[in-house]
């Protein structure tokens, strides 16, 4: 229901972060990522941000060299998801300060924590940046 997976892929097709909310084996995931990324990367600026794939939709957004792809059910509100991607980016931006791909690569666990605060089992749970970042900041302070 809702969100099925969230991927962050760079423009060369390498997956930087993958969070799945339904079970798929490793091979399936790899195949899926390959297919979707190929489709999305081939699109240009003028085209809309929604791609239909199999029986669900992919909502994607490009930020510099990084693509954010979210796979959702067909009845999900696409623009809301689009904005959710932006919210995610802004949250990471607030935490890392001018976030870039390298930040995600080097602090992958933090990126995952943030994502998990925001989305649980495919539903959006928290949309306030301070609430999301609070536990992470606590962790940083404690360590």
């Amino acid at each position: 229901m809702g969100i099925r997976f969230i991927l962050m892929v760079n423009k060369h097709g390498q997956t930087r972060l993958a969070q799945y909310y339904e079970y798929l084996t490793i091979e399936e995931r790899r195949a899926l990522e390959g297919e979707i990324v190929r489709k999305c990367l081939a699109r240009n600026e003028q085209q809309c941000s929604f791609v239909e794939h199999r029986n669900y939709k992919i909502v994607y957004r490009r930020y510099a060299s990084l693509f954010f792809l979210v796979g959702v059910d067909n009845d999900e509100n696409e623009l809301a998801i689009l904005e959710f991607i932006h919210l995610l980016v802004e949250t990471m931006d607030r935490h890392f300060g001018n976030v870039c791909e390298l930040d995600i690569m080097f602090h992958l666990e933090k990126a995952h924590f943030m994502l998990e605060e925001m989305v649980m089992n495919g539903c959006i749970v928290e949309t306030s940046k301070s609430n999301i970042l609070a536990p992470i900041q606590l962790m940083d302070k404690a360590s």
Partner: protein, 774 residues
């Protein structure tokens, strides 16, 4: 902990943890963080096991939760609510006003903490979720609540403009689209708005505009308004963005009806030539369905389908052309037109194989209607079709063979040159590897040599009974998302096709003649049931092409011989038996095999049961020279055989197992045409516990797989009669020749292709001392 359970909890977890989770959720002393997670955890558990949330007590608690100030908890509770309400909205009525209030609060931006405001819009995600919940409630009773809801929605609908800031734009439009989904039943202003959207430059909005319009199709009065935007939608069909193109196609499919069919279908066909492959199959299927449903007249429909095949032959599934053929067959005035069109298409230099199939079929059936026209004499039609023969694959050749046979049949007066040409083709294919082609070539050849008797058999196909379009089934089967599904549902509701009516009449030529000699392929049209599209395809193919009942050639036909013995028996029994034993299809043969070993005579019932399996015994005797042919409680018949080249000598040992004599003993040989059998005299009585020997001479005249039958009867209390196959089979008359390795292997290697050649390695079970070859 919540994270774990929430994400991967299973059914057992659900049962055991549910109460605890629920407690945590409602206790206000817990920190918001915990409660958020608790809410979603519960959601997960609920999905796994719906009984977890006991409905009555819980709806009040939910209502309480919705009073929550903290938006984080509210968001998660809302998610939970969506799932609960989706299953059972009656129980949660009390939550409804709370939802509306929450929505109001958000929309008016009343004491929303700053951090939940996203580019000036208070938590768009929560708004979206709330509206999603509201969608599940059919109507709102309480006028106050209704009013406030309408106000909110009104404001959203009117107040959302296209703003510079992309994010704000998107967020506000997200809310807007959700609102549209909510009100689609109520306001038709929505459609006007949507009409504006599909012309906007921003691609996302266009996409959503098209998608929502498709969803709106379910509301009937809106359809006229949607049609006004037809031009714009058709432009979207040519949009460079594939997602938009798909949406446009779905919308066009949904909004098509009698008035705008011609335009839409013609647009689709035009687009087909430039469409990319992913879409072509869907496109062709939908165009075909639309053409069928709303065709203003039948000839237009045939035109469209033929054009479709011409342009996108690869993507036109067999269902489509079957359907065309069905309609042409059922409508007599359509037939000459279809034939002319088919002929025109054949003139083209490079045509698709499906087109060849369709044209060949139609011309085969109806070319005689065109005989007067120039360029359409049977000879010319034949030569045009024949030109295509080298270019087609094995699946088309059977259809072409049928066509030739029908053309031949329809040429009156018969043209010997044409006949010879066609016969030459049949003869060529008589030795083809493919069983279907071979069978048809052989049978058509034999039939056409019969002359006038052909008329009945090769008459036109009878009309098809009406059945649900396989195409619609196929369209519903292919993966469809929700917007598409509403269009499909609409389509399914409009089942009564007003333009094309398939009539159900008895076949014009009456029931096909049943031949005395058994093998009748009963037209199995009633069996064809479109329970699944694929099943329908194979069956459809079968019925379309092999319905002509064809009696087998008694002698020259290798394929019919297994049931040959039926031909030997007297007429009364045989007509009844084939229908009983011959199920059209493959089951006929093995059944007949076993049944024939002891073929019951119609009038008398055998109460004496044989011991052992007669078929097995027969098969064993085919390999050995001596053994028991038949045994029952009273008699045992054994055989000892001796073979030399084409001659054989069998001795039948009739042994009486009983203490009293068997009387009225009679043994008759029913020889097949290829064997000469002579049985010496069989005594009338067999004394008790005695064995009588009866020699039987067999001479093999020519090779055949037929079997001789021994009709044996005796009386012991009751009359017993059995018909036994005699193991005087082909392999007995074969003689081995010794071949050295040098001679053998070149021969072996020169045989090409399966199944003529079979190589198997046999393992030696025990070591055998190999003797040297002499």
């Amino acid at each position: 902990m919540f994270q774990t359970v929430g994400n991967i909890g299973g059914r057992e977890f659900a049962e055991s943890l549910a109460p605890d989770v629920q407690k945590l959720l409602i206790s206000s002393s817990c920190r918001p963080l915990v409660r958020k997670k608790a809410a979603l955890c519960l959601l997960r558990l609920y999905r796994k096991n719906p009984d977890v949330v006991n409905v009555d007590g819980w709806s009040d608690r939910m209502a309480q939760l919705l009073d929550e100030r903290d938006l984080g908890v509210l968001t998660s509770s809302m998610s939970l609510l969506v799932a609960l309400v989706a299953n059972n909205h009656d129980a949660y009525w009390s939550c409804l006003p709370k939802c509306v209030k929450a929505l109001e609060r958000l929309a008016r931006n009343q004491d929303i903490p700053q951090e939940y405001t996203y580019y000036g819009i208070p938590s768009p995600w929560l708004q979206v979720k709330t509206m999603r919940v509201l969608q599940y409630f059919p109507t709102i009773e309480d006028p106050n609540t209704r009013r406030s809801l309408f106000e909110v929605l009104q404001r959203i609908l009117m107040g959302t403009d296209v703003v510079k800031n992309v994010n704000k734009n998107n967020a506000s439009h997200a809310v807007l689209f959700e609102a549209l989904a909510l009100v689609k039943r109520i306001m038709s202003q929505c459609v006007a708005l949507l009409g504006k959207f599909i012309a906007v430059r921003e691609p996302n909005i266009r996409y959503l505009g098209l998608e929502n319009m498709t969803r709106m199709l379910m509301v009937t009065d809106v359809q006229d308004i949607i049609k006004r935007h037809q031009a714009q939608i058709i432009t979207s069909l040519k949009d460079p963005d594939i997602s938009i193109r798909r949406r446009a196609l779905d919308l066009l499919y949904g909004m098509c009806d009698v008035s705008n069919t011609k335009d839409i279908v013609e647009e689709l066909l035009q687009y087909l030539s430039t469409a990319d492959f992913a879409m072509r199959e869907e496109l062709s299927l939908k165009a075909a369905i639309l053409a069928e449903k709303f065709a203003p007249d039948l000839s237009w429909y045939v035109d469209v389908i033929l054009q479709l095949i011409d342009k996108a032959g690869d993507f036109v599934s067999d269902d489509i052309w079957f359907r065309v053929v069905q309609f042409v067959t059922n409508n007599e005035d359509l037939q000459p037109y279809a034939a002319v069109k088919a002929r025109e298409y054949l003139d083209k230099p490079a045509i698709h194989e499906t087109m060849v199939k369709v044209s060949a079929y139609i011309l085969g059936e109806y070319s005689h209607l065109l005989a007067r026209r120039p360029g359409c004499s049977p000879k010319e039609i034949f030569s045009i079709i024949h030109e295509k023969l080298p270019t087609v694959s094995t699946s088309t050749i059977p259809i072409l063979l049928s066509t030739y046979a029908k053309i031949l049949m329809h040429t009156q007066p018969s043209d010997p040159e044409l006949q010879n040409q066609i016969w030459a083709i049949f003869r060529k294919y008589e030795s083809c590897i493919d069983a279907e082609i071979q069978q048809r070539a052989v049978e058509y050849f034999a039939l056409s040599s019969k002359g006038a008797a052909l008329m009945d058999i090769m008459a036109e196909m009878p009309k098809f009974p009406e059945r649900q379009s396989a195409l619609i089934k196929k369209a519903e089967d292919t993966e469809a998302d929700t917007a598409e599904q509403s269009a499909l549902k609409l389509r399914a509701q409009q089942q009564t096709s007003n333009a094309l009516v398939v009539t159900d009449q008895r076949p014009a030529n009456g029931t096909p003649p049943v031949s005395e000699l058994g093998l009748v392929k009963v037209p199995s049209m009633s069996n064809v049931d479109h329970s699944s599209a694929d099943h329908g395809v194979t069956q459809g193919n079968g019925t379309l092409t092999v319905v002509d009942p064809q009696p087998p050639e008694p002698s020259a036909d290798l394929l019919g011989d297994l049931l040959g013995p039926l031909a030997i028996e007297g007429p009364p029994g045989s007509a009844a038996q084939p229908e009983r034993k011959l199920v059209p299809g493959t089951e006929g043969v093995p059944n007949a095999n076993d049944a024939l070993a002891i073929a019951p005579v119609g009038e008398e019932t055998n109460t004496v049961q044989p011991i052992g399996n007669i078929a097995e015994r027969f098969q064993a005797l085919c390999l050995k020279d001596s053994g028991v042919l038949y045994e029952d409680p009273y008699i045992q018949i054994g055989i000892k055989a001796d073979w030399r080249a084409h001659q054989g000598r069998l001795v039948l040992f009739l042994g009486n197992k009983n203490t009293s004599p068997l009387v009225s003993v009679q043994a008759l040989i029913l020889p097949p045409s290829h064997l000469k059998m002579e049985l010496s005299l069989v005594p009338d009585t067999i004394p008790p516990r005695a064995q009588v020997q009866c020699p039987l001479e067999v001479i093999n005249l020519r090779p055949s797989r037929d079997v001789g039958v021994l009709d044996f009867s005796y009386k012991f209390g009751t009359h017993v009669n059995v018909k036994l196959r005699l193991p005087a089979v082909l392999n007995k008359f074969l003689q081995p020749i010794s071949v050295s390795a040098e001679e053998f292997f070149p021969q072996w290697r020169s045989i090409s292709g399966p199944p003529l050649k079979l190589q198997e390695v046999a393992k030696l079970v025990a070591s055998v001392a190999l003797k040297r070859q002499s």
